[in-house]
Symmetry: C2
Subunit: 337 residues, 2 copies
């Protein structure tokens, strides 16, 4: 049995898209998956009533009477709102009563509560959000995606390891290619942090590090490096590029609507927009904590929730958290030898 706790109260359109996402996920996921719906039972029941197709034996309601809002200050909120869906949902995992947590709530609060409740794997200095970017081929994983504004060179180095484990386990790439996002390929390019991070990454064992990459090397198929699987950067740059990418997809859609609206009805053209659409990627894993946590966009669609639930199941099945523990304990052992 795989038990996935879903924060039903977190997103901008909660709980409607969450429950719709659960319904779609159950149609695709194995019979051994149980979804734990964390939130206000009355609200959840009302929404479930609109989904007669949903198999009630495969969901469980976990009462949470409080909600942490997007505007709440993370540390204050998780201390004061002990009965919130975020604190209780993660509490289930800490207590061994759940295997993963999925939420489209306040990212800072999820990050803080995960770090406090689940704790970091030994050797990991900071948890990081790994954001998948859509490309014409498989997604590129960018980390940090916005959780950590300023990062030390050593933190960036550990993001490279975390991202590599994730890509191996979830995207099934045996030797993930890692690049450091910078403003030029040469060793001397960048700011003080990227220069030092580049040096550390060049010396890192067990990574397939190809060096500094530029903004135009991130999206597959156009880089001289071929496909880069893991893009390492601080959360300031990662967040800006991520949000910018979303807006470019909307710009392209608007330009097509303005200029050639008739082609939007064609299946082959819709396929182009499907690739550019974030919602199919679902969620961004929070890596480095002991457990499985998937963070979704506040404005996630039902499809995004469905995919986030699927990624959570994959992460549990693959043993992602154990693999991260093993990677970092091997690094510690090597550095002591």
């Amino acid at each position: 049995m795989i038990r996935i706790a879903l924060d039903v109260m977190g997103g901008d359109n909660a709980p409607a898209v969450e429950i719709e996402g659960v319904s779609r996920a159950l149609a695709e996921l194995g019979e051994d998956v149980l979804i734990q719906l964390v939130g206000l039972p009355s609200v959840i029941e009302a929404e479930l009533a609109r989904h007669p197709e949903l198999d009630r034996s495969r969901v469980e309601i976990v009462e949470a009477t409080e909600v942490i809002g997007q505007a709440d200050k993370p540390l204050v909120a998780i201390r004061r709102k002990q009965n919130s869906s975020i604190v209780l949902g993660l509490g289930l995992q800490k207590a061994g009563k759940s295997d993963a947590f999925v939420s489209s709530g306040n990212t800072g609060a999820i990050l803080a509560a995960s770090t406090l409740l689940l704790r970091l794997h030994s050797g990991v200095e900071r948890a990081t959000v790994a954001t998948p970017f859509p490309t014409a081929d498989r997604p590129v994983v960018v980390l940090d995606g916005g959780a950590n504004v300023d990062c030390s060179p050593r933190e960036l180095q550990s993001f490279a390891y975390l991202g590599s484990v994730y890509v191996r386990d979830i995207l099934r790439v045996a030797e993930p290619v890692v690049g450091l996002l910078n403003i030029g390929e040469e060793d001397e390019k960048g700011n003080a942090v990227t220069k030092e991070a580049h040096r550390l990454l060049q010396e890192s064992d067990g990574l397939n590090y190809i060096g500094n990459i530029e903004g135009n090397d991130m999206i597959a198929g156009h880089s001289k490096f071929g496909h880069v699987d893991v893009v390492v950067c601080d959360g300031f740059v990662g967040n800006i590029v991520l949000k910018f990418y979303e807006s470019v997809a909307r710009l392209v859609l608007r330009l097509v609507k303005d200029n050639a609206p008739d082609i939007l009805e064609r299946d082959d053209v819709q396929e182009v927009f499907r690739v550019l659409d974030y919602s199919q990627y679902g969620g961004a894993p929070l890596l480095g904590v002991k457990g499985v946590v998937i963070i979704c966009h506040g404005s996630s669609s039902a499809n995004a929730i469905k995919n986030a639930l699927r990624v959570a199941v994959q992460a549990v099945e693959a043993g992602l958290s154990d693999h991260i523990a093993a990677t970092f304990s091997a690094r510690e052992a090597a550095s002591q030898a």
Copy 2:
């Protein structure tokens, strides 16, 4: 008479695209514009021979026997290569024999040589590259576009003034809206530099500052702020977002080619790609130096060169450099009052 010096040796496809660009520019620009072709006369003559349509009375060859390559170290190169097209082209402007300089050569060398030869306007701490981003409406000007990796809050503040003057003079927007690129709108968001820059910008007179903006607010029509004209950031972030944008346009083209190649022949669909195409914007002005300098992408097309020449003419006609001088001397006077 407006005299524009063009570095004919700088780009990846020099001098063919440069001369083709001159030919196209002369067909559009007024009769009072003279283009000074700076480079190896024999190479220029050979290329001109392929353009019988080009009116030779409107161009002038200025001999430069050396070329600064993209891989050359800027400061070393401009000291050692005194006969390079960059040093001699800017030297013309310093000597009062030219009104503007356009080059698709080594950006660092153009920046260094411009600062040394033309010097900065009083009150400007650093010259900055203002990069126009295409949008569905008028372009958004992003600065710094990659010239200055780390920037102080005060430098970011001065970029806001420089960008505003440019948008007023070249894009003819009376009250350019300025935003600071950040990872959230709230005052406390960002790193130490953006927090302090935000505070300085809020206190700045004569700016239409709307506050922190996010990555998805950069492209017009989708921001809650409406159109943002001037986006302020350091050159590390600016360079990465700029290059990323270029690659998204190529990704969309590839996706359409893979999925619906027939629509590419339609004029209305080509219009979509024309908007996403950087080459129509031509060049990025180097702002803050006494004079007019336009930096083009190394891989500029003939159209990009043509447009860069047009922007150079507009900047001279509008009195851009004088307006920047006036803006910064007014700031100095106000701070002393």
